[in-house]
């Protein structure tokens, strides 16, 4: 590590690591570096926890080639906010693993955190959370997407998400009949 330091001119902004530093440095697909609390990263991401435990964290920036800088910034932001604001035990036990446990509603700050994102940024963050094995962040982001579908007809959902209908005319008619019950107003 000490040897590499001289070469890393381009990364001069980054602090030199002490042996027992309490952050890890992550590198996005487009080469940007982000610092994140080691404790939060290990607690919130199974993938990062594995990398930290396995010693495959690179002090010059662990390469996360699948994640762009905007998404990684959000991941790091989420981890740091999480580290600061939440009593961890409650949240960890609440994270759902695909329907085995009930989903715990997002906290106020989590709601705000995803509400400010554009669709594109939100989907990027879902993919990043999925890639990093961040169950809670995946739930919170997926929950946000599910909220965008609530109370909408298939047409409206297609419009919101810009989805192409690939049903035939006949199938659409069938679906319309099948869903007739759902279209009555209360």
């Amino acid at each position: 590590m000490e040897v590499d330091k001289g070469k890393g001119e381009a990364e001069e902004t980054r602090k030199v690591a002490e042996a027992d530093r309490d952050t890890v440095t992550l590198k996005s697909s487009d080469g940007k570096l982000f610092e994140v609390s080691k404790e939060a990263a290990a607690r919130l991401s199974t993938v990062l926890a594995g990398m930290i435990a396995g010693g495959s964290i690179d002090d010059n920036g662990t390469d996360l080639k699948q994640i762009g800088s905007e998404a990684l910034e959000n991941v790091v932001d989420y981890c740091n906010k999480h580290a600061n604001s939440i009593p961890s035990a409650a949240l960890i036990s609440s994270s759902i693993s695909f329907n085995t446990a009930p989903f715990k509603e997002p906290e106020e700050w989590e709601r705000k955190f995803v509400d400010r994102l554009s669709h594109d940024a939100l989907f990027d963050l879902v993919e990043a959370a999925n890639f990093l094995g961040m169950e809670r962040l995946l739930d919170v982001t997926c929950h946000k997407i599910s909220e965008m579908m609530k109370g909408k007809s298939p047409d409206q959902i297609r419009e919101v998400f810009n989805i192409k209908n690939d049903y035939t005319k006949e199938e659409l008619e069938e679906i319309r009949q099948e869903l007739a019950w759902a279209f009555y107003d209360d």
Partner: protein
């Protein structure tokens, strides 16, 4: 952020606005996960109408469910049946009457009865489905071999349904027959005779003479016979 990466344009024939945020790039299991977070079946049904891929995702999200409840939700026969068919790991099915009135009929029960999960269900509630008769109930319970708890209160079933329960559901532990006015003592006796694991039976509001409960107890002395309506969970108020 600068838009460096050129998103591959799906289809690409609608030249106008460049590729918007594209939910379709999310993997199928993630889309299914999103859908599993929808709280209402109405929303889930609507999502299934979006595209073929979405319909598969709806089915996938259902496949992981253990419990399905239509209580308080409007549902049609076809939609309910399709959900139950997709929920291959289901254990607990609640299609009790919703506050919107009953839309499930015998036809729905018959369609539901052919679902893979029926033989593994341990709990079924048909509470208050005024539109169902023996025809649908017999079909359904005849395949529900693993059933332990059945709530069939507030329906118009007769002894015919109870006989079917007695013959097929030998693991039955509890049954709610609240206000089943067409069930007679003979039906109850058949049930208690065949279902030797029956622990609890709710007979509130039935038209069976109290003496007949004595004969039930002579068959199964430990049987708890209750008459207090245990239907508060169904959201129905009963003044006693």
């Amino acid at each position: 952020m600068e838009k460096e990466q050129q998103q591959q344009q799906p289809g690409g024939d609608d030249g106008g606005a460049a590729a918007e945020a594209d939910i379709e790039r999310l993997p199928a299991d993630i889309l299914a996960h999103v859908l599993s977070l929808l709280p209402s079946f109405r929303d889930l049904s609507m999502a299934g109408g979006v595209s073929r891929r979405w319909r598969r995702a709806v089915e996938r999200s259902l496949a992981s469910r253990r419990r399905l409840s239509f209580a308080g939700q409007r549902t049609g026969d076809d939609t309910a049946a399709r959900f139950v068919h997709a929920a291959v790991n289901l254990r607990d099915l609640d299609i009790s009457r919703s506050c919107w009135g009953c839309i499930i009929t015998d036809e729905g029960l018959i369609k539901i009865s052919s679902a893979d999960c029926i033989g593994k269900l341990t709990s079924i509630s048909l509470w208050g489905l005024a539109g169902i008769t023996d025809k649908g109930v017999v079909q359904l319970v005849s395949r529900a071999y693993s059933l332990q708890h059945l709530n069939i209160g507030g329906t118009f079933i007769t002894d015919e349904s109870l006989n079917a329960v007695a013959n097929s559901c030998t693991n039955l532990k509890s049954i709610i027959l609240w206000s089943c006015r067409h069930v007679t003592e003979a039906g109850l006796v058949a049930l208690v005779n065949k279902c030797r694991r029956l622990e609890c039976i709710n007979v509130g509001g039935m038209r069976v003479p109290p003496e007949s409960f004595v004969s039930l107890l002579s068959i199964s002395p430990a049987l708890q016979i209750r008459s207090i309506p245990q239907i508060l969970t169904a959201g129905v108020q009963v003044s006693s």
